[in-house]
Symmetry: D2
Subunit: 337 residues, 4 copies
Amino acid sequence: MKKVKVAIIGASGYTGLELMKILINHPFFEIAYIATTEGGMKASDLHPSLLGVFEQDVYKADATQVAKVAELAFLALPHKAAMGFAKELLSLHVKVVDLSADYRLELEAYEKFYCEHEDKENLSSAVYGLPEINKEKIKQAKLVANPGCYPTASILGILPFLNYLKVDAPIFIDAKSGVSGAGKKPSLSAHFVTINENIFAYNPLMHRHEPEISEKLRLVSGQEFEVNFVPHLLPVSRGMLVSSYLQTNELINAKAILEDFYKEAKFVRIRENPVDIKSTAGTNFCDIFVTQKGKSLFVSSSIDNLLRGASSQAVVNANLMCGFEESAGIPILAYVP
Amino acid sequence: MKKVKVAIIGASGYTGLELMKILINHPFFEIAYIATTEGGMKASDLHPSLLGVFEQDVYKADATQVAKVAELAFLALPHKAAMGFAKELLSLHVKVVDLSADYRLELEAYEKFYCEHEDKENLSSAVYGLPEINKEKIKQAKLVANPGCYPTASILGILPFLNYLKVDAPIFIDAKSGVSGAGKKPSLSAHFVTINENIFAYNPLMHRHEPEISEKLRLVSGQEFEVNFVPHLLPVSRGMLVSSYLQTNELINAKAILEDFYKEAKFVRIRENPVDIKSTAGTNFCDIFVTQKGKSLFVSSSIDNLLRGASSQAVVNANLMCGFEESAGIPILAYVP
Amino acid sequence: MKKVKVAIIGASGYTGLELMKILINHPFFEIAYIATTEGGMKASDLHPSLLGVFEQDVYKADATQVAKVAELAFLALPHKAAMGFAKELLSLHVKVVDLSADYRLELEAYEKFYCEHEDKENLSSAVYGLPEINKEKIKQAKLVANPGCYPTASILGILPFLNYLKVDAPIFIDAKSGVSGAGKKPSLSAHFVTINENIFAYNPLMHRHEPEISEKLRLVSGQEFEVNFVPHLLPVSRGMLVSSYLQTNELINAKAILEDFYKEAKFVRIRENPVDIKSTAGTNFCDIFVTQKGKSLFVSSSIDNLLRGASSQAVVNANLMCGFEESAGIPILAYVP
Amino acid sequence: MKKVKVAIIGASGYTGLELMKILINHPFFEIAYIATTEGGMKASDLHPSLLGVFEQDVYKADATQVAKVAELAFLALPHKAAMGFAKELLSLHVKVVDLSADYRLELEAYEKFYCEHEDKENLSSAVYGLPEINKEKIKQAKLVANPGCYPTASILGILPFLNYLKVDAPIFIDAKSGVSGAGKKPSLSAHFVTINENIFAYNPLMHRHEPEISEKLRLVSGQEFEVNFVPHLLPVSRGMLVSSYLQTNELINAKAILEDFYKEAKFVRIRENPVDIKSTAGTNFCDIFVTQKGKSLFVSSSIDNLLRGASSQAVVNANLMCGFEESAGIPILAYVP
């Protein structure tokens, strides 16, 4: 079978690297084009671990060039930068999986929490790329907004219980992320000495992933929930653990509901014991554990923030958009021990 | 001034070590006796970092010997082992600060979550050693039950808001602890490879510190709250961060209430920004931050699990029991950077 | 093509897990049998990250059963336990890759540093499985002794310079290993609190990998070198960095010699900058850097202690023994970032 | 007794913080003045852990002001910046302990490895502040050049054996440092994700501490040694382990020589087992272990890079310069567990 040619725009960061690592061995995709803002080096100059493995040239990003060589492009760019490229690529009939926040939210919310939107037209037709809720739409999409890492883990944990939740009770989400989620750019808050042997919350009740979570819960359930979201930085490089604290209307069998809800899911695993982040690191799995005390639930969900929270979920979306099996080429072996 | 002689029973563990580190330089206490289950070595054999610093002999624990040389004893023993010693020491007129769980709970709760209690008499007169709620009682006490690490951080965070809480709304506490809290004993769950680059919950909604927290909140407020407590193990050696998610009856000014509540407290610091654990590691401080969204509160409290959560709080209690200034000899300089 | 069936004896440890992770996706091998000392569980009970990925039954190890279903067996057992199995398996015409120390050394050295050897016959025909020195012999071998992790990284770093070394000058090797190299068994020295934020040497100048290194250097060069080997434990889970300090007879161009020596090597990469361990973690690569000051050389070599230092090198050896391309199914994408 | 007033110039970095932590509780010194390049904040703004502990005003550095209020100044500034201040302070009769490299080397070496020297006059009279070799000179000094962290640990390990070393054999020093040694400034090489679960050499055989080590060994011994120095960055915040590989002329009893050499030293501890960095972290100790194989020695020395390698050694020097007991106010209790 002839492989589908794809482009990666934004190859210098961590999610760009993860995209390459997945696509290098993908059975149906072929990396035809890689770009950064600057261009003019090899992939192994950006990521020394690729020396001798993948040394393709990296270009200065150019949508016209992409359209000449690729049918689909992954955008691993900052928000705002992404929408410019997406708009142009779509006009050139290139499918787009956008890993930024640019097409994740409804217009009003986007402009409230980010900035003015410069591609309102495509925004309205973009599909939110969480396969567990939108698989059929993703298959038809030209533009998929790849979910944020926190929303992925949070929504997957809460989804099975949505119909059972007390609508007027707040949802509390205590999330913990590895530092790679904050990107590669040096800063005092990413300095080893700041993070090591430490933990702290940041942007509590004010993080931009909070509206993403509440909007999606509303769209799925038709109900408005108060979502209180607090992220923390962990002294680990990769991985994300999300603790959701929920209140149900009546006594339910949470474990049974959870298992039933995901019985067909390829990339959700239900755990008997509290989940950890090493068992999902390196994979596209979301592991979920639930326990309860009466009508109070504790849901613990774990993902690899760079994979299920970004790059491998993006490739799952690309698989679906191109008519391939959703699990084709998707990593399932964890970085353990 | 002549120093008060004290004993440390249980010197081989982490809290025993921390007791020694504080008491070596204490202005009013003198370590007169150190013991472990075995005895027969020097303190620096148990803890090599003490070489050349503190090399006192370590004896096989014997209450009669303690009574001959010391006025007050710190028990850094496992629960159950502690109550035997405490009973005997008290009968010999030695004051006791017990770092175990043996005298922390009311009888019924203790026997439900731990084991049969063998010293019911002293249990009923033991004082719960959280100075922020019991300072005057501690001053009169012969036996102080030093609080658990999780309850210390949790209660201090929730206390200022107790009168404002919705009584029928559950309290959710998401706690994160360094591994030293689990003790020095080797186990697969304390193995470096298990913990490093990882995080996971343990005993969710079933940890024995949950009844300790809810009992104390009830005793202070006269109200029964549903406490849902989930501890996590962090890949750090020391430190504890506790996130409490609360719901108030009406809109309050949480920050102002917090500041007012602790305006006289020596060892509670109110933070403008989310607290971290490195700023309290090495000290007896509890740092607290609060933020809110309407009637939902996020309280973040940080302590050193081995100090404010055990050994330095024990010495504060001993200070009070002996009529000294509560801050005498108590560490306040953090282990930063 | 029909796959060659293989067995893994000793599946509960870290190297057993890594063998499974490689062989699950191997193009020419199929895991036909997995065993531990006990048996009676699934692979995912031993290693929870395999849930939903690989759940094959695990048996109590039995050589006769192995011979019925497999052509080649990997022994991931402690030394001494390995030689019993190897002997029996070889007599049943099963090829063996032994990851223990049992067949690595000449008899005299083995018995001096380990214990009495109970399979002297096979010892004499075992091939030391470092492909860079023994590729042709490995292709013919029935029994391959997979090298130790430290010797792999040390020998690969020193080998290119062997002919240039001052014979009467000692070689100094300062090695640093992640904790997984010490195995999964709980111990105080593998306790998180012991290792975290720490580093220390162990068995300096007395480690059993020292005679393995010096024996192989002697066999290759025909010269006896004094090898001084000091291993250290690092606060990392996986990875190994070996610094070798060498003295040459005359001024050489170390970089050029190094590049030339490995110009055909599939799994050795020469670096322009000092190597790190994250760029080889997750792969079978050995990355090497050299610099010099006159006739003093500093060689820095990096491997994944569990892969190039154990399991992936074992599969390379199995590839060669079965006539496959040496790189078939061998991991080359690092666990970065 | 009236305390001696001191100034800290350069309070924003890690060594500035450590100076404050020591001097806050010093029995004979009082912090009279703190400065940074900018000034205009409190000490607890620079270092949040000081909130409620030490909130003194921080000024824009000004030598004239220093001279008005302090008898001695600690300079915790980058090299080059330091010499300007030192020169002016000395002319105003303020004693100086300079923590930078500016006065550590002889002129020629300094200008070769750093930059042009702008205070040659004071350079010639500066005393190298390693008390184990220069205690008497330090007592008379107006200007002490506080040693580098690597030279401190290296020289203390090698010193006892200097008279026994083969002069024509190279010395190899493999050093490992926590990241705080590289300072607080954000950079990709100090990014958590770069350092965590990693280790690598930097500036091998080219680090500027190499000439500092060889110069001091030459000055003490009268012999020229070839020093080959390779530093590595460890995934720890603080601590330094230095492995020195030495060759002696004849068979010596290294352990006995080491013990004898330091029998009077207050801040050197000889260890029976390989040293670790946690046992010295938080203290001014240098722990040393030696073992040998014939005439090859392995010396392992451990210090806290920020304390013995900078700030506490600076205070020891200040103690000596002011006629106080060398150990006054110097930390000896390690940051364990």
